[in-house]
């Protein structure tokens, strides 16, 4: 079964016919299959997390109890947060990276194919445990919030096996992230095609390099914290138990040292996606490539020094230091906005669906970014931290930003992955529903937060000004759900009535558009000369201005 792997373009060795069927997928080490498995599994988790969110929005539609018990509600938001962060957005980024990086750098596969498969299965196993922790656990599901703050998550306050399974699940997902990170870095550092210098790497690949580095930096301390928590819970430790000499604030330090880089682990792949898409549909090169890469590196570096802005209200951290670092990180993010605008300037912009979603990303993420600057000021946090204002803020970055970017990625690369186009008409409907539904859901939550509604509450009193915004928000969640359903129909329709995509339906710039759709095993039968960061463009436009 073993074959020698050679750099592309390999001499035409007779290849085994490609295998299909469940066993081929379960045992595959091909980066494209693993990438697709990552994306599909992560998207399934998105549907689960979305269903949980819909249940919560129904519960909150009006004051008074409607649907679920308090305990169930607390489990719902715990699992919703965990699923969306650790099992959907981040792994979807890993999936795209697995699929695209070897193609974009011109490599036959990832550097460690079996490690890659191992990482996928760790993710799938961990995800399963996390779901179990919410719903199939004796003695109560995990209901301590996705942050699992101690001492609430200690055995005394959260008995039952739910939190233990949750910890194990997250630990496995963390291992998956580390393995993928090592794999990405090795592939990019050592398996680039001739002429693909570091300063010609496609931006998506650059962003995944920084994401991988962040994962390697951020996950180990958090896994240490979770291990200590498990020891506290099961083996009688007191690391974070204030009544046994422990310190809950140290847990928060360790957790947020993961938690804040994690939000950049979620958003950087999306920055990469959008930066691939905007120049292609503007028919222009990226404006300010070097500045963009440096800004990405700056975001990655600064994001390791801002963690305690989640702890401004504890009164136990140095607020000005973290306030300054958090404000500074707005600068490289702002630079990226100007890169994107510069890439559209004097272009010939074609509003295809991937570009639409990228514009949705820009519009939503800007609001997330601006409110993020507000949240970097500790006194403003004194009012809005842990309120619905904060909930709205991070959904504007994670949902309005990252998820819109991921939808852009799906519409952009689905033709490459499957050889079939998604419907342009349905895509516009999906975009309209998601954009409208998203803003309808989360804009009212800013108002709720300012009026004093805390997050993570199952119910609220009438007459505090919470009623109307909550109702609007719940209606918006319905519109969002409709958008996702139309999208699923679009996927199904593209299988049912395939429209062939061809190798390069969009006039793409990076190397993946220089091979067939879907690409063959080992990716390339021939490689173009690489003389700029747009090898596929150079290949199709010989003699055109660079």
């Amino acid at each position: 079964m073993s074959t020698l792997v050679e750099r592309s373009p390999a001499p035409q060795a007779p290849m085994e016919p490609e295998r299909h069927g469940p066993v081929a997928w379960l045992t595959t080490t091909d980066h494209k299959k693993i990438g697709i498995m990552y994306c599909v599994t992560a998207f399934a988790f998105f549907l689960v997390g979305g269903a949980l969110a819909d249940t919560m929005r129904t519960e909150l539609a009006e004051p008074g109890r409607q649907l679920v018990s308090t305990q169930t509600y607390n489990t719902l938001f715990t699992i919703h947060g965990t699923v969306m962060i650790f099992l959907f957005v981040a792994p979807f980024g890993s999936g795209l990276a697995n699929y695209l990086i070897p193609l974009q750098v011109g490599a036959p596969d990832m550097a460690f194919p079996r490690l890659n498969a191992l990482s996928y299965w760790f993710f799938a196993g961990g995800g399963l445990l996390v779901l179990l922790s919410g719903f199939a656990s004796a003695g109560g599901g995990a209901a301590m919030g996705w942050t699992a703050y101690t001492p609430l998550s200690e055995a005394r306050m959260s008995p039952g096996v739910g939190p233990d399974l949750w910890i194990l699940g997250i630990a496995l997902v963390a291992v998956a992230t580390l393995l993928t990170g090592v794999n990405i870095l090795t592939t990019v550092f050592l398996l680039r095609a001739p002429g693909m210098t570091m300063w010609r790497l496609p931006i998506f690949t650059w962003n995944m390099v920084v994401t991988a580095l962040l994962g390697l930096v951020a996950f180990p301390p958090a896994v240490a914290a979770f291990a200590l928590l498990l020891i506290d819970r099961r083996l009688g430790g007191h690391a974070f138990d204030p009544f046994g000499g422990g310190d809950p604030v140290i847990y928060q330090h360790l957790f947020w040292f993961l938690g804040h880089p994690e939000v950049y682990i979620l958003i950087l792949p999306t920055f990469g996606v959008v930066t691939e898409i905007i120049p292609v549909f503007s028919r222009k090169p990226l404006f300010g490539y070097t500045g963009f890469v440096l800004a990405t590196l700056a975001i990655g570096a600064l994001s390791t020094g801002v963690w305690a802005h989640h702890m401004f209200t504890t009164g136990a951290v140095d607020n000005p230091f973290f306030s300054a670092m958090s404000l500074l990180i707005a600068v490289p993010t702002g630079i990226k906005f100007f890169n994107w605008i510069g890439s559209m300037w004097q272009g010939k912009i074609r509003m295809a669906v991937p570009m639409l979603f990228s514009m949705g990303f820009l519009l939503n993420f800007l609001i997330g970014g601006v409110t993020g600057v507000m949240l970097a000021s500790p006194p403003i946090d004194f009012q809005v931290a842990d309120s619905y204002f904060l909930v709205a803020h991070f959904h504007y970055t994670m949902m309005g930003g990252a998820v819109f970017g991921l939808f852009a990625a799906i519409y952009f690369w689905h033709p490459k992955m499957t050889g079939r186009m998604l419907s342009e008409r349905l895509g516009r409907v999906v975009f309209a529903l998601l954009f409208l539904g998203f803003n309808l859901t989360f804009w009212p939550q800013f108002i709720l937060g300012m009026r004093g509604m805390p997050r993570r509450i199952v119910d609220y009193a009438g007459g505090l000004g919470f009623d109307t915004p909550n109702l609007v928000s719940s209606v918006g969640a319905g519109v969002l759900t409709l958008g996702v359903l139309v999208f699923l129909y679009d996927l199904w329709a593209s299988r049912r009535h395939p429209v062939a995509a061809g190798d390069d339906p969009w006039g793409g710039y990076s190397l993946e558009w220089a091979t067939s759709s879907p690409p063959p095993e080992r990716n390339f039968t021939s490689l173009p000369r690489i003389r700029s960061e747009r090898p596929a463009y150079d290949m199709r436009h010989p003699g055109a201005p660079r």
């Binding site: 750099r7 373009p9 079996r114 299965w121 002429g195 330090h253 390791t304 951290v317 003389r531």
Partner: protein, 127 residues
Amino acid sequence: MRTISRLLWVISGFGLGVGTLYWFLTYEATGAVLLWFFGLMPMIVALWMWRRGLVSAHLAEDEPEADPSASAGEVVGSFPLMSAWPIIAVLGVVMAGASLVYGLILLAPGIALLGYAIYGLMRESRH
């Protein structure tokens, strides 16, 4: 490789620098240790690259005018196209982990499965 080495050194310097700044501003040990280790980790790789003389190694991928055929056919390893061991290994890990929660009876088969998978992985890569 020079770009990569430079990148690692810059990250390392940033971590150590911010860690030190943080320490003298706050005297808070947890964060300072986290930042210092963040600085040390890339340094390990950077030092290794330096000692092995990889910093100035001349690779076709770092050559702006290289021809696509420059590294064609270069063997980068021998890997199976498919392998069942990763999924078996994770099955073992999940079982061993779940034993902590559902009863130690799962621990032995879990570890056995993991060991079997590791053995399988090693045997597979000998070809």
